[in-house]
Symmetry: C2
Subunit: 421 residues, 2 copies
Amino acid sequence: MSLAVVASRNDVPTIEIDSDRLLADMRALADFGKVGSGVHRRALGSVDMQARGWLADRMRAAGLAVEMDGVGNVIGRTPHARRILIGSHTDTVPNGGWLDGAMGVIYGLELARAFMAAGGGGEIGLEIVSFSDEEGCFAALLGSHSFVGEMDRDAMLDRVNEDGVRLADTLEAVGLADKAAARFDPAIHPAYLEAHIEQGPVLEAKGLPIGIVTTIVGVRGWKISFHGQADHAGTTPMAMRLDAGAALCDFAVRIAAFCRRESGTHTVWNGGDIRLIPGAHNVVPERADYIFSFRDPSAALLDRIAQEVERLSSVVAAEHGVTSEAGQIFAMAPAAMDETLMGLMRDAAEAEGAPSLDMPSGAGHDAMVLARHVPTGMLFIPSIAGRSHHVAEDSAPEDIVTGARVMARALTTLCRTIALP
Amino acid sequence: MSLAVVASRNDVPTIEIDSDRLLADMRALADFGKVGSGVHRRALGSVDMQARGWLADRMRAAGLAVEMDGVGNVIGRTPHARRILIGSHTDTVPNGGWLDGAMGVIYGLELARAFMAAGGGGEIGLEIVSFSDEEGCFAALLGSHSFVGEMDRDAMLDRVNEDGVRLADTLEAVGLADKAAARFDPAIHPAYLEAHIEQGPVLEAKGLPIGIVTTIVGVRGWKISFHGQADHAGTTPMAMRLDAGAALCDFAVRIAAFCRRESGTHTVWNGGDIRLIPGAHNVVPERADYIFSFRDPSAALLDRIAQEVERLSSVVAAEHGVTSEAGQIFAMAPAAMDETLMGLMRDAAEAEGAPSLDMPSGAGHDAMVLARHVPTGMLFIPSIAGRSHHVAEDSAPEDIVTGARVMARALTTLCRTIALP
């Protein structure tokens, strides 16, 4: 699928952002839930709701019609029947960074404001969305799942946040329980654009200000459990042990070697969670749990690694005289970005004198949900030291501004050339 | 050092145990802190103190002079100026087994009772000890360390148990604060004997009722920490990661291979405690802590493994681009048992028709503390399925009785032949 374009329409204004206003709004939003240089703004909590109220006010002041929907999505629409979606999210992880999703939402606010200030002409307008609970306080990507109609609302209402409070009770408390969910409509929304910090070190390392996302990589998480026998670590001869921990370490080394051998350019994997039971230095581990996750733009490569996880865990268990279970605990399919939108942003970057890199996104974003339904484009700017989901997260102000200018230029072209739904 | 013996003295009675009385006392003691088929009797707690009171009463009833000393050691003495020490401990780990140290103490009670009932003649008597806090509620082997004079009492008084209560306050509460510590005296005590369940599977696997302990193995515990960098597990290319967890698993596999290659017959090792920080599946581990312990009768072999732990942890860290620290966190030297006492018990087992196995003890015991000061002998009986430190711990009653008979026969010979101090 690639977005169709038509000849240029001359009634669409050139969108030119105001960089001071952009940065000022970004900093104003960061005051909600400020924690040192970072932000703690958990979805649908009181601070997050205040921030949503502030955002709604800013949207109204920009001339947008604003709705806060039944899951907390904040949506600002220009007065056009057809609208390009631009969004991201304003909630954060606990003690997170000030940019993360907030930058993409304020980009949207500034783009719509500039568009309206320039007359807002033409047949296509903009719809700016701050998706609710991208970070999974109740459920990851809650707002975008709801928006595209992939959410079972009744099942979702029983989900609880880290304080054990149900989503249903939370929505009731913040006055959203009786509101409808806003919905994506292909007859209204021809494209979705999202800007985000990279959250990784690649652009900084290469000295490039813009990343054009090619694919949001797919991810698989597997839990591998080895079951042995707890024995006294002094009195049990080595030949009589069934050591689940030794099996886990052996598996970890060998699955990493497989991935190294078989991986593509963008394959990554991680074994960040190891639990030994009982976990005492003087007891042979009777059980060892390992979470192994791996990501790649190619679903076929993810399949091949998953098969090896299953095969190798059995082989290693047998060699150690223990048993194993291996099962997938989470999975997201790779989401390809739209070639036309990639090209528009690549050209816009070049025109802004900002060299760009085509790159996959190793992290998930609302764009991966939208991409299943609508041509989607995504732009990255560099993260200082690649840090994110941390109060130290930051980007250079000039990179923030450059990203917004590239978005403005690409959006202007898109509004002038996109085939109307 | 080997114990000197003299020609047989005819005034020493033959010690013959009463197996029903032995088992009845063992079961009576197991009622203090009973948890299902096991026992929860933490040192110097109220249940442990009740058990100590019961033991003191049984010792008195056997004709012994009883003392409970300033750390809770319960000591029963026959009226002889020189006395062979027989002991173990009656405290347990949390939800432990009913035999563990209790069996060796009740063996001592029954042996002294039989000895006194048979006239208690001769120049050498018995001194039965239940050492306090062998299991380390406050400090492992507290009672035996105190008894041999290796304990800094003032430093020890500030130690706290799992409830955070200081030893000083505990001793005050149970009325022992002002009591003196009973002390080993080479002019009084020519030998120490301890019986214990094996706490391992070897005797059962070989179908042998008696183990003659040759050495209590030495143990070394090392903590190896790898320091890398926390990064997003999706957005950081593999080549830019500093993965402390991958280094740990690699080290664990390679140190085990070294031990397998270099080990002696009795070498054992364990990596039962792994901690990854932050321990999340989607974050590259920035730190990984590993506790690696190893045991062997030979201090030289322990030295060789320790050197390799240090060398290999640096090598592995460098290969993974991370840093490492490795340091010894605990160590106990191997303790050789006395050859003469081993021979006496071996001969006694043969005379009882009970085949025996010379074997090291992979677990620590009060005997390892006593062995630094006095010729020490230790006897094992089989543990069902090798289980210990668990409510399921058990031994066959006939094995318990056989062990006591072998001890009685060895002790009779010892009393008749030992050179008086």
